[in-house]
């Protein structure tokens, strides 16, 4: 069987670009005969013949063959394609229903061949995405006709496709038995430069080959590529760590205001984020077809919704409980139960569908083999923006000044004419509003449902406690450190254990440094 495979290997279709073929001539008598023959070698001939044809119908037929969806009806002498039932494709006068259809079978080798034929075909597609995809598929594919790739190389203008085509060529050069040493050395350099992990096996084979010169160069290339792979893995972990960290920071900023600045434990903080996420869902429902615009509009809306609810909570529940922090904790926990159940009863106990607009879902290629989701990058930037905004609001505005004054010395602030209870309400509303905004970001990363807040509340308290209560910088650094630590620990012993390790780590850290990373100093500390 192996020997036969060798002899039957077909070169990939020669592609006469621009030549339009009449679809009627695909199924010449010859082709029909060989395609419906029971011999494997006959069908090889038929595939080769059809691959010469560049009509859309030929592509359909090849795809049909690949998927096992091409049928031949001996009675009516017609071909049918499977797509929600059998549809006649040739001849034009074929009866719409097949009488006695029989699948045109292909073997595994032919399937591989068909796949590479089809992807070589799409190398010439006018759409750049299709070409990129096709070039990517050719890497590591068997039986690639390098002459086609070479031809395309001259015309291609998309750099990413170009890089992938070069990799295909270099890999071909490595495998070529008759190739010269210089060619192979050049191919090695090229592969190293472009970083193609798919070629690792071939390079390894070369490194243990008989040619000492080549073996040396291959070993060197392997070493370089390994170092590169490690750097890439590091970059990826860093990115995911920052991404998780930024989410934690986003939620923790609001908490740093209510817990840190006001000293109020708000267990319903997660539900404020949930409200924000549901706001996205609501705006997207109001503005169907414009998920991006709805998402941006949801930002101020979520701030207002969560802020209003937060202000109301402060006035009704938290106000009677000042100086009784433990009971505030219980009361707000009760509120979180009520809000969750309200979401369950009012909307649905299931998760709601939030659309991720295009600018959030796209991939952003930083280097070959390293691309990141745009949404995650945007959320990292967004987190920094929110942080800066809150920081400026606390440092530069009148309200911020009053908040800090009340925090540091309530009695003195009141003596100087600060309306302290109004400041309390506004501070709590601000913290809740920021939580709502973080919910908008969360809606793009995780499922939006009644449990959204619960999943993050313990983590975000950890961030604030770890960073040091009453300190925005603590929340920022604490969140980023926890996010990074989480992602760096994950590959070692799994996500669950990483989380447990971090929990235990923080508990131990707090024992050593009860006031967190950035303890408040001076007069404020005794408050």
């Amino acid at each position: 069987m192996a020997a036969q495979d060798q002899t039957n290997q077909l070169p990939m279709g020669q592609l006469p670009i621009g030549q339009e073929s009449d679809s009627g001539t695909i199924f010449s008598e010859e082709v029909i005969k060989s395609l419906t023959s029971s011999k494997v070698s006959d069908r090889d001939k038929a595939i080769a013949a059809i691959s010469q044809n560049f009509s859309p119908l030929a592509a359909e037929v090849l795809t049909g063959l690949l998927k096992g969806g091409l049928f031949w009806d001996r009675d009516s002498q017609a071909f049918y394609l499977e797509s929600n039932g059998l549809k006649p494709i040739w001849p034009t006068a074929a009866p719409s229903a097949a009488v006695n259809p029989k699948k045109v079978a292909v073997n595994n080798r032919q399937r591989e061949l068909l796949a590479s034929l089809l992807s070589a075909r799409s190398l010439f597609d006018p759409k750049v995405e299709t070409r990129r995809e096709a070039a990517k598929k050719l890497i590591g594919a068997p039986n690639v006709d390098l002459t086609v790739v070479q031809r395309r190389l001259a015309e291609e203008d998309d750099p990413r496709t170009l890089d992938n085509l070069k990799i295909v060529l270099a890999m071909g050069a490595l495998k070529n038995q008759e190739g010269s040493e210089a060619e192979k050395l050049a191919a090695l350099t090229e592969l190293e430069r472009l970083y193609a992990p798919a070629a690792l096996e071939d390079i390894k084979a070369l490194a243990s080959g008989s040619n000492p010169e080549l073996a040396k160069a291959a070993t060197q290339t392997l070493k370089l590529m390994e170092a590169r792979a490690q750097r890439l893995a590091l970059a990826e972990t860093l990115f995911f760590g920052l991404s998780l960290g930024s989410v934690l920071v986003l939620i923790a900023i609001g908490l740093a205001i209510t817990f840190g600045v006001m000293g109020v434990i708000n267990m319903a903080h997660g539900e404020m984020a949930m409200l924000g996420a549901y706001t996205v869902w609501a705006t997207q429902t109001i503005l169907p077809g414009q998920p991006g615009l709805a998402l941006i509009l949801a930002l101020p809306a979520a701030f207002l919704v969560a802020g209003t609810v937060g202000g109301a909570i402060e006035l009704t529940v938290i106000r009677p409980l000042y100086n009784r922090p433990l009971e505030t904790l219980l009361a707000t926990f009760g509120l979180s139960l009520i809000l969750q159940q309200a979401a369950r009863k009012g909307v649905s106990s299931m998760n709601v569908a939030v659309i991720t607009p295009e600018f959030m879902s796209g991939q952003w290629a930083i280097a070959n083999n390293f691309s990141v989701t745009q949404g995650r990058v945007i959320i990292i930037v967004f987190c920094l923006l929110v942080f800066a905004a809150v920081y400026l609001a606390l440092q530069k505005t009148r309200l911020g000044l009053e908040i800090r004054a009340v925090t540091q010395n309530r009695a003195m602030a009141r003596a100087l004419g600060v309306h302290s209870s109004r400041v309390d309400t506004l501070t709590f509303a601000l913290g809740s509003g920021v939580a709502g905004v973080s919910g908008v970001a969360l809606s793009q990363l995780t499922n939006v449902g009644p449990n959204l807040g619960q999943d993050y509340i313990v983590d975000s308290f950890m961030v604030v406690v770890f960073g040091g209560v009453g300190n925005l910088w603590g929340a920022l650094l604490g969140g980023l450190i926890i996010g990074l630590a989480n992602k760096f620990l994950e590959p070692m012993n799994g996500a669950m254990l990483a989380k447990i390790t971090i929990m235990v780590g923080i508990i131990l850290f707090i024992q050593r440094h009860p006031k967190g990373l950035f303890p408040q100093r001076g007069r404020v500390a005794s408050f």
């Binding site: 922090p325 433990l326 009971e327 904790l329 926990f333 509120l335 313990v458 929990m503 707090i510 009860p514």
Partner: protein, 374 residues
């Protein structure tokens, strides 16, 4: 102050009556008017009450709010559950004499070292006492020594139970993962589902609750108890007076965890299942609300609260399951804002009103009158 005051006498009589009526009502009559199901349910409530009592001891009398007491309860349950799992023996689905079913299912080759000796009842009882006690000792020691207190301690204890929950979800830990332990068959060789065992477990729980209440009452009326209350009311002042506040806190916290563990151990066979949901922060917080509702700083209040909340929960979650979270949430808010002393405070207020004029104003009693809001 006498340990056996009037309240404890009343409590003793109530518990005695309960034990007698339940035992007689389910076993002593040819036509029993109490079903084994009800007996098991009441037994579970008694275990919750033990947990609530242990929370009240540290919260109501020492001002330490633990949001992770469910962890000690669950650990006790798991420790005893291990024994119950080993008792299944060859009666299991896979019929393995040594390995419990879930281990065979996951593909464990041999028993993990954590399970050594768990087939002996004595070892199980030792584990029930030692594991929660040791964890509380270690956690309390590190926390109180570095003066982690107030809300920080609450959040840390919540993180502790959360971390344990995540850990117990892992199959590789060897404690049944998600499903935990279930399908118990025998206890001390007797059939778990027989009426005799059900009633015995109920009586054991009632006796445990009674002895726990007596022990707590003894503790809070002792000199140590006075120091505890002093710590609750003004920790700094106690420290300046020369007391080792940390040592008192650690000791009482560990004792309270031990009580919780014992409650959990009796809970496991009566519930018929023990799984990581007991480690969930919500469970611990629900128990704290029981205490708040019944009346913090009053031992019987905690017990009353546990019974009230459990009873309402089982009623409401069958009649209108959607309303239960609203109700529980509302309870949290209302009790904390309006009812500082809970149902017990209300009762006391009522008794005072009724007996007004007939009874002399009682002498100042720091134990039964939580002076300052926490």
């Amino acid at each position: 102050m006498p340990v056996f005051d009037r309240s404890l006498k009343i409590f003793t009589v109530v518990m005695g009556l309960l034990i007698f009526s339940i035992t007689f009502g389910s076993m002593g009559l040819s036509n029993p008017w109490i079903s084994p199901f009800t007996v098991g349910l009441l037994g579970k409530y008694l275990c919750y009450a033990v947990l609530a009592l242990s929370i009240d001891l540290v919260w109501g009398y020492m001002g330490v709010l633990s949001l992770g007491h469910g962890a000690f309860f669950a650990l006790g349950g798991y420790a005893f559950g291990m024994y119950l799992m080993r008792q299944i023996g060859t009666l299991g689905v896979y019929g393995d004499a040594v390995l419990p079913d879930f281990m065979v299912f996951i593909g464990f080759e041999k028993l993990p070292w954590t399970w050594y000796g768990s087939q002996y009842f004595v070892v199980a009882v030792l584990l029930v006492i030692l594991v929660p006690g040791a964890l509380a000792l270690a956690f309390g020691w590190t926390a109180f020594r570095s003066r982690v207190s107030g809300v920080y301690f609450s959040i840390m204890s919540q993180a502790l139970t959360y971390a344990l929950m995540l850990a117990f979800f892992l199959n590789s830990l060897g404690f049944g993962g998600n499903n935990g332990f279930t399908d118990f068959k025998r206890i001390l060789g007797f059939d778990v589902h027989s009426l005799g065992v059900t009633v015995s477990l109920f009586v054991a729980s009632a006796l445990l609750l009674w002895s726990a209440a007596v022990a707590c009452r003894w503790l809070v009326t002792s000199r140590l108890g006075l120091v505890m209350i002093a710590i609750r009311d003004n920790e700094e002042r106690v420290r300046f007076a020369g007391y080792k506040v940390e040592n008192v806190k650690v000791a009482v916290f560990a004792f309270s965890a031990l009580l919780a563990g014992l409650g959990g151990a009796l809970y496991a066979p009566q519930a018929g299942i023990i799984n990581p949901s007991l480690f969930a922060p919500i469970f611990s917080i629900e128990m704290v609300v029981c205490v708040a509702l019944g009346g913090r700083g009053s031992l019987y209040g905690a017990i009353l609260g546990a019974f009230l909340v459990s009873w309402i929960k089982s009623r409401l979650s069958t009649a209108a399951p959607d309303l239960w979270p609203f109700f529980l949430g509302g309870l949290f808010v209302l009790v904390t804002i309006f009812g500082q002393n809970g149902a017990m405070g209300f009762l006391r207020w009522g008794v005072k009103k009724i007996t007004f004029g007939f009874k002399k104003e009682p002498v100042h009693d720091p134990i039964n009158e939580p002076k300052e809001a926490l």
